[in-house]
Amino acid sequence: MDRFLATFFNPITIATYTPAVLEGMKITIILAVAVTLAGTLLGLALAMLRTFGIRPINFFIIAFADIGRALPPLVIILLVYFGLPGIGIRLSGPMVVFIVLALTLAAFAEEVFWAGFTSVGKGQWEAGIATGLGFPVTLSSIVLPQAIRLAIPPLMNRILAISKMTALGSVVGVQEILGAASAAQSLSGSATPLTMAALAYLAIFLPVALLARLAERRFAWKI
């Protein structure tokens, strides 16, 4: 038992590395929020664009969504971070993580919003058009609010899954939680910083998970 505590909860190690892990939490939160906002908005914009039914544009949106959902983000992060400098483009670690995860989330969010749009009945569009509202107003005032409502629960789950992938930043030197903790782990030779990392992730993402659960209940839809 003592050995267990000394390995995972060493008080001296905790005291030493708490500032670094807190700093990591800050970076994780900033990255997660940025990824969530950018990915959700881009996904929504793409899904809205797709409702206009312009074939060549839709082809690209669908291709983007499918490729973005198929590729493991880690592969792209490594490719961009280590590959692009070869052609003279050098992006910082946090920037690479932000771009790749935001695009990944956008791909999923586009599909989630699109599913929302398609499950709003044709009759809603027709009622809007028949009362003299144009396509854009019908989209924004009638269809969009319903589509967003339908999309929120699955979207929350996606956001949770992808924003915690900010941990991948540790492989390209981003000092987010895991990055800070593994540095501390090699310095101290103790697993305790990793325990701290796990707790830090819980502190950030458990509330998000609870929020997602709440949203699922709140938006259980009755038509």
Partner: protein
């Protein structure tokens, strides 16, 4: 009670709706052929016929939810294909459409359902739109449900809200597509009585319906469609009492046979 502008019909004898040799194809399939039909101001015309005969499509052509393949449609003497996109929106606002499935907006309360297009299509202020909405909700007997959501209303109530939503836009013509077909029998009456009330107020109406007793007693004229064509039309006494065409007779006798 104030009834601003509602149902003040100008009684000049130009048809409210004039359909001229309309045809409609979906791909190779001709759904409507050579339809000509006029509805005069204040007139209630019932469109009856078997399912699949093209009644809904004809109605939807009148506000360009469907595009014509041939012929012309004039509303208040104006060709609905002649104007700009803006004219089309105005035309649609002033051509009320009531759907079988109500199509109320489930995320908005009743008041917002009735004010949305007033504000965004006709440019009324919130205050104007709400006053008008409460007036129209009063007319359909639902002034006290302004703050309810559609899901909290019965089918008949929802359909009456849908009627109020259309009336609030000061329509010159109301199109009804089987307004009572999706309703529980006990709420059908409330919707039909609103429609009768509209007629006594002079509203011009084209109504697709399977409620033959309503057509018989409320319509000025009944039009029987089959296979994408108008087979026969005339006053209800004539169509129901002494139909001339064989197909009309067959349709009506099928209907009057006891079910089961």
């Amino acid at each position: 009670m104030r009834r601003v502008g509602l149902l003040t019909v100008d009684r000049q004898m130009r048809p409210s709706l004039q359909i001229v040799s309309l045809s409609k194809r979906f791909g190779h399939l001709t759904i409507l052929r050579d339809i000509s039909l006029s509805v005069m101001p204040g007139e209630l015309v019932c469109l009856i016929g078997p399912s699949g005969s093209g009644k809904s499509t004809l109605l939807r052509c009148c506000n360009r939810l469907e595009e014509l393949s041939g012929g012309d449609i004039l509303i208040e003497g104006r060709n609905i294909y002649s104007g700009t996109a803006r004219d089309l929106k105005t035309l649609r606002a002033h051509t009320g459409m009531v759907f079988q499935s109500f199509n109320l907006y489930p995320h908005l309360d009743v008041l917002a359902n009735v004010t949305l297009a007033q504000r965004k299509a006709l440019g009324r202020t919130r205050k104007e739109a709400e006053a008008k909405a409460l007036d129209m909700l009063g007319l359909v007997g639902l002034a006290d449900r302004a703050k309810s959501y559609p899901a909290q209303l019965s089918g008949g109530q929802q359909q009456r809200v849908a009627i109020a939503r259309a009336l609030a836009l000061d329509p010159t013509l109301m199109l009804f597509d089987e307004p009572t077909s999706a309703l529980d029998p006990e709420t059908v009456g409330s919707v039909l009585s609103v429609m009768r009330n509209l007629k006594t107020r002079g509203m011009t109406m084209l109504v697709v319906t399977h409620e033959m007793s309503f057509a018989r007693e409320a319509a000025d004229r009944v039009v029987f469609m089959d296979g994408g064509m108008i087979v026969e039309e005339g006053p209800p006494e004539a169509i129901f009492g002494a139909p001339q065409m064989e197909r009309t007779q067959a349709f009506l006798s099928r209907l009057s046979k006891p079910v089961g």
